[in-house]
């Protein structure tokens, strides 16, 4: 009996659950076997610290019940709102800002005049408009008229 190592007995049940005969066997073997002596010592100490750890239970605070009931009410309120409204509540800021940005861009594109580069002012006149649509306010120089007419002829060829 004494030759049997005792680690299996130690690992099989808690120290508190070992019977008197098992404890006697363990102690007797531990006296003669060095490795089993340290195993027994470690098992005994482990049992003590585990007991101590199990006794450190935290008590509920006096406000805990109130906190839980408040959380439940909040949860119930959230659940009572239909899913589409819940979705809207979470996305309304994003959707509103996107709509605002779209409106602002649209307004800007209508309000601002189209930019016309200066170097294209000459070619903006066609030959027809030069001949047919000249008015007294919109007079061109002689060179401008000639260059416009010949430029159109060159393009046509």
């Amino acid at each position: 009996m004494k030759d049997r190592h005792i680690t299996e007995i130690l690992d099989n049940a808690s120290m508190a659950a070992l019977s008197e005969s098992e404890l006697n066997e363990v102690r007797a073997h531990a006296l003669e076997c060095g490795p089993c002596r340290s195993a027994y010592e470690a098992a005994r100490m482990s049992a003590v610290v585990l007991k101590s750890r199990a006794q450190t239970a935290i008590e509920p605070s006096p406000f805990f019940q109130t906190r839980v009931m408040a959380a439940i009410r909040e949860q119930r309120e959230v659940e009572s709102v239909p899913a589409i409204f819940r979705l809207w509540n979470s996305a309304k800021v994003l959707v509103s800002s996107m709509a605002l940005a779209t409106v602002a861009l649209g307004a800007l594109s209508f309000a601002l005049p189209e930019a016309t580069p200066d170097d294209q002012s000459l070619s903006a006149y066609s030959a027809e408009s030069v001949i047919m649509g000249q008015s007294a306010d919109d007079q061109m120089t002689y060179e401008q008229v000639l260059s416009t007419i010949y430029e159109d002829d060159d393009d046509a060829r």
């Binding site: 099989n12 195993a39 470690a42 482990s46 049992a47 199990a54 805990f64 839980v68």
Partner: protein, 197 residues
């Protein structure tokens, strides 16, 4: 009695559920304290347990006790919280603090040491060091059986595991913890020897 309370709460009677919280919060806190030592975490876990219980009241059929049903929800909720958070670093093999060393000295001579608040805090720190080598499930099994003297059957009921699974977990956990403690004790003797030299 429990079933009536659960039914009333399910029907929207707020005071019935408040009574459930008042009656069983010590039990839920006790379960959460096995997993966490910080009050804020224990309270967070306990609140989560009661919120789940509130939404699942319909599944309580009154076959077992309401306390048992809540214990199971608490155990699974805490296990999930521990799994989803970062695992603690394994600190078992690190050097012992002076307090821990003197605690081990006192208890290894077999006099049991002084049982003060400080002493139990050191013991609790040592236990956490040892438990950190285990999975949360194994910790749970070992703390219940070796720490709280729960039976295999009680652990099986609280966790939903089979009794054989509980036995295997407890055996494996006890062995690992014993080996970790042997390492600590070996380290302690080495430190004492080197101090003597």
């Amino acid at each position: 009695m429990d079933l009536d309370l659960a039914r009333q709460a399910q029907d929207g009677d707020e005071s019935a559920f408040a009574e459930i919280v008042r009656r069983y919060s010590p039990r839920v806190f006790s379960v959460a304290s096995r997993f966490f030592r910080q009050r804020s975490l224990v309270e967070e876990a306990a609140q989560e347990v009661f919120l789940k219980a509130y939404t699942q009241l319909g599944s309580f059929e009154g076959r077992g006790s309401l306390e048992g049903w809540l214990t199971r929800i608490a155990t699974n909720t805490c296990l999930n919280m521990v799994r989803s958070s970062k695992r603690r670093p394994e600190s078992t093999v690190s050097d012992l603090t002076d307090d821990e060393q003197s605690w081990l000295d006192q208890h290894s001579v077999g006099d049991g040491g002084r049982s003060s608040v400080e002493s139990s805090l050191v013991a609790t720190d040592l236990a956490d060091r040892l438990l950190s080598v285990l999975s949360p499930e194994d910790q749970q099994a070992l703390l219940m059986i070796d720490g709280e003297d729960a039976s295999i059957k009680e652990v099986a009921e609280a966790t939903g595991w089979s009794e054989s699974k509980v036995k295997v977990r407890a055996f494996r956990a006890r062995k690992k913890v014993r080996e970790a403690m042997e390492k600590l004790l070996g380290r302690k003797s080495k430190q004492l020897n080197s101090a003597a030299d």
